[in-house]
Amino acid sequence: MEKVVGELKQLEELLVQCSRCGTCQSVCPLYKKDRQESSVARGKMYLLDALVEGQIKKADEIYKYLDYCVLCGRCKNNCPSGVKTDEIFLRARGILRQVKKLPAWQKLALKVAMGQPKLLAAMSPLFHIGLRAGASKVDDGVFKPMGLFRPLIGAMADRHVIDMPAEPFTKKYGGFNQAQNEKMRVIFYPGCAVTLIYTGWGEAIVETLLHYGVSVYVPEVNQCCGIPSATMGEMGLYKKQIGVNFDYFDSIKDAEYILTCCPTCEYGLGATAERESGRQRGKQMMDIIVFMAEVLKGDYPKDIPLEGRTTLHIPCHYNHAKDSVLKEFIKEHFDTEYADLKNDGCCGFGGTFSLKNYAHTKEISALKAKEVEERGYKNLFTACPGCAMNLTDATLTAETAVQASHPVVEMYRRRIKKNP
C-alpha cells in the first residue's frame, strides 16, 4: 500500500492542476447518464488525491471508480485548466493494478490478443464458423448471438456483432502492395478490428491508395496497438506492444507516413506511446482521410449519390483539429443532405470498457441511435471501426436499419472498385 501511495504521489503535479470546477461533467458520457461524481474526472481525481493524503485507506476500493471510464478523453479536451486526465487515469490504473489484480478471464484475453496475434489471425475461420453457428443473421453482415451463449457472456449476448470474415485482412494484403505509377510509399496499420472484422475497410483503403499511386506496406501480422492493456492497467504489456510496433515501423525505411483508420490506434501509438516508452516513432502517423485530403490530394470522385440524409459520428480519439477535414471530405465527395449529429458525444464503446460494461455502453449509444431515427438519417458515417461496430449495434437494437460506414469505404465501393 505504501508503495502504491508513493507511486501515486508522483502524479501530484498532474493532479494539482484540477481546480474541481466540474466542467468535465458537461462532456462526460458516463456523468450525463449517471449524474454522480464517481463517474466523472473531477471525482476520480479527488479520490486519487484522497488516497495520497490518507483520507481513504484502501487503494483497491477506488480502482473500480478509475476503471469505470470510457477513456474518451473529452474531459481532457474540454478542461479549462488543461488537466491531462487520460495520462493520470492510465498511469493510476497501472499503479493500482499492484493491489487490484486483473480478473483471470481478462488476463487470458489479453495474453492471447497481445502475445499471440498469429494464433488470433489463424483462428479467424473458426470465429467465422462459430459466430454463424451460434447466432442469427439480422442484417447484411450482422449477426446476433443466440441465447445459448448467455450463461457465458451475460448481457453481451444481446449485442449485434459484425460478421468475422473467414480470412484476416493481413492474409491477403500483408507485406508490400506495389502501386502502378508509384508516387509514394506508406505503411497502413490496420489495427485488430480491421484485421479481423472490418476487413472490407482495409481492402477499400489499400485499393484506394493503390488506385492513386500510393504503394502500401501492411504488417504481415497485426500487432495490437496496446491500448487494451493500457486501459486495463497493464502498462508493462502496453510498453511491450509499443516496442514491437515501433520496431516494425523503423524496419520500413522508404515509407513516409503510417496511416490508420482507427483513431484509438493512432492515439495508442501516438504521443501517449512516445511518452510512456521514451521512444520516438520516427514517422508521422495520420488518419486515412486526413492523408487523402491534405497530403495525397488526389482527384477523387465527386457527387457520389447517397440516398437520404447523412450524418457523422466523430470518434473520441480522432485528431479533433481535423474534424472539419472529415466533415468537408463527406460534403465534397458525396451528393447528400449532410447535417452534424446534435449529440456529438462519445458512442460509449471504449473497447474493453464495453466488454466489461455493455449495459452502460448500450445506454449511451442508444441516445445516438435515437437521434438517427428521429431525424431520419439514412447514412451514418464514422472514422473508427470500434465506433462503427457499436453504432451499428445501437441502430439495429433501435430497429433503424442504418449501419455505420467509413467514407473511404463507400467511395471505394461506389466508384473506385472496378466491378462495383
Partner: protein
C-alpha cells in the same frame, strides 16, 4: 454517527441504487468547486421525487441529522460542503423539464435540470431564458436559485431571482410547501419564492420551479474596445450607464488577462492594451442602432479604440477571448481563487484602483475580468494551495478586497453566494441586527439548525 437502522431507512426511501455510504463514495461528496477544506458526509442519497425529498427531510429532522442539498457541486463558496457531516441529498435525478408554456411564457422544471439544457430547450420553442452563469453547462437550476446565480447578461436581463415565479420545496417536518405560481401578478401570503432565492439550502429543499421566459431579442451588435489605461475602461463603463444605455453584456479584461489569453489561444487580442471592454447591445433593430451610437460616443470620449463585429463569425471571434479568460488563467498556476466582489457600477474605477493597491501590498498575482457593466468583477488570484505562505498572503488580500468593496457600498457576493468562504464578512455587510433576524427566521423553520448548517454564518 447515524445509527445503522436509520441508514436502512434512507435506503428504504431512495432504493439501493440511489444510496451510498462507503468511504470512497462519501469522499466524493466532501468537496465542491471552492478551495475550502473538504468534509465528509455520513450518507449520500439521491431522491427521484418531491415525495422522497420530503421523507428524507423528516427522517433527518427526527434523527437530528444535518442535511446538505447538492446539485452539480459547482458552487465557489463551499456552500455544499457538509461541514458538520450528516446527509448529502443529491438532486441530479430530479432532472425533468415538466412544461414549457409558450403562450404564457413560463416553464415548470425540476431542480436538477442542467441550466444550459433548459436554455436550449426553451430556445427551440422560440423563447429565451436569459440567466447564463459561467457554469451553466454543468450547474443545476436548483443551485442557480439557491445561490441566485448571475451571468454575463445580468446587466440588462437581471439574474436568476428575476426569473423565478414559483417554487415547490420541502421543509424539515416533511411538508411540501408552495410559493408563487404561474401568474405574472401574484400576492398570496408571504413571498416565499423571494425568500428561497439565494437561501443557499438553509431554509428548505427546493424541488420544482416555475420560471419566467421572455421573447428573444430581434437584433444585436457586438464590439471590442481597447484602452491604453484601465481607468479609461472603467470610466467608459460608468459613462455608458450614466448615458442610460443598458448593454446586454459589458465585460472587462485587464492587461494581465489579455496577455494570458493571447498566449494561450492566439485569438488575436491586442496585447498592448491596458484593458478591453466587450460590449453587446441587443433589442429592436432601431434601438440597437441608437444604443450603439451612444456607446460609440462614450468609448471615443474615453480614448477607446472600437472594433465592431459585422458578421456572426466575427462576433463569435470577439467572444472567444472572453470565454477563454478563466481557462487561460487557470493554466498558469495550480490554484485559482476566483472572487466576485461587486460594487455599484459607477464605482468600477475605484475598485480597480483598490485592487492594484492590494496586488502590490501583498505581492499576489491577480487576473481581473468580469461583468463590469453590473459592477461584478472577478479578480482571480493565481496561487498554489500547497504554498502555505503564499496562501496566507492571498487570504489577506481577499479580506482587503471585500473590505474595499463594502467601503464602496458594494457587496461580498454578486453571484457566487456566501457559503462558508465568506461567512465572516456577512456582519460587516449587513450588521448584527440582520444576522439575528436571519437566525430567527431559520430557527422558526429549522429549530435544530439541520439545513445546511454553518453556511452564511447561520
Amino acid at each position: 454517527m447515524i445509527a445503522k437502522s436509520v441508514l436502512e431507512k434512507f435506503k428504504g426511501i431512495v432504493g439501493e441504487q440511489n444510496y451510498w455510504d462507503s468511504p470512497a463514495d462519501l469522499a466524493l461528496y466532501s468537496f465542491d468547486s471552492s478551495v475550502e477544506k473538504p468534509a465528509q458526509p455520513e450518507v449520500v442519497v439521491r431522491p427521484e421525487s418531491t415525495e422522497q425529498v420530503a421523507q428524507i427531510c423528516k427522517l433527518c429532522n427526527d434523527n437530528s441529522i444535518p442535511l446538505v442539498t447538492r446539485g452539480s457541486g459547482t458552487n465557489l463558496a463551499g456552500g455544499t460542503i457538509p461541514v458538520t457531516g450528516g446527509c448529502v441529498l443529491l438532486m441530479t435525478k430530479l432532472n425533468k423539464i415538466l412544461e414549457i408554456n409558450v403562450k404564457d411564457m413560463y416553464a415548470v422544471v425540476q431542480a436538477g435540470v442542467i441550466t444550459a439544457d433548459f436554455a436550449a430547450a426553451v430556445l427551440e420553442k422560440g423563447l429565451f431564458y436569459p440567466p447564463d452563469p459561467g457554469s451553466q453547462k454543468m450547474s443545476t437550476l436548483g443551485g442557480n436559485v439557491a445561490e441566485n446565480a448571475g451571468g454575463l447578461r445580468g446587466l440588462k436581463y437581471g439574474v436568476t431571482k428575476d426569473y423565478v415565479m414559483g417554487v415547490t420545496f420541502c421543509d424539515m417536518e416533511g411538508n411540501i410547501v408552495k410559493g408563487g405560481g404561474k401568474t405574472v401578478k401574484l400576492c398570496t401570503g408571504y413571498n416565499l419564492t423571494g425568500l428561497m432565492c439565494q437561501s443557499e439550502g438553509t431554509l428548505g429543499v427546493m424541488t420544482e420551479f416555475v420560471l419566467k421566459l421572455v421573447p428573444p431579442p430581434k437584433a444585436s451588435k457586438a464590439m471590442l474596445v481597447s484602452f491604453d489605461s484601465i481607468m479609461d475602461a472603467g470610466n467608459t463603463v460608468s459613462g455608458i450607464i450614466t448615458n442610460h444605455v443598458l448593454p446586454c453584456t459589458l465585460e472587462l479584461m485587464d492587461n494581465f488577462t489579455i496577455k494570458t489569453v493571447e498566449e494561450a489561444t492566439g485569438a488575436g487580442l491586442p496585447v498592448d492594451a491596458a484593458a478591453l471592454l466587450l460590449i453587446e447591445v441587443d433589442g429592436h433593430p432601431a434601438q440597437v442602432e441608437d444604443d450603439y451610437q451612444t456607446v460609440l460616443k462614450v468609448c471615443r470620449e474615453n480614448n477607446g479604440a472600437v472594433k465592431v463585429a459585422n458578421t456572426s463569425e466575427e462576433k463569435e471571434k470577439l467572444w472567444e477571448g472572453r470565454r477563454k479568460s478563466l481557462s487561460s488563467l487557470a493554466r498558469l498556476r495550480p490554484t485559482l481563487v476566483l472572487e466576485d466582489a461587486t460594487v455599484p457600477r459607477t464605482k468600477i474605477p475605484d475598485i480597480l484602483v483598490a485592487l492594484e493597491e492590494i496586488r502590490q501590498k501583498y505581492n499576489v498575482t491577480i487576473g481581473t475580468f468580469g461583468h463590469a457593466g453590473d459592477g461584478n468583477l472577478h479578480p482571480t488570484f493565481l496561487c498554489d494551495k500547497r504554498d502555505v505562505e503564499e496562501m496566507a498572503r492571498v487570504h489577506k488580500a481577499v479580506d482587503e478586497l471585500f473590505a474595499a468593496a463594502l467601503r464602496l457600498d458594494g457587496t461580498c457576493s454578486g453571484e457566487h453566494g456566501i457559503g462558508i468562504a465568506k461567512a465572516k464578512y456577512m456582519v460587516d455587510e449587513v450588521g448584527e441586527g440582520t444576522i439575528n433576524y436571519m437566525k430567527q427566521i431559520k430557527k422558526g423553520i429549522d429549530a435544530k439548525n439541520l439545513l445546511n448548517p454553518t453556511k452564511m454564518g447561520l
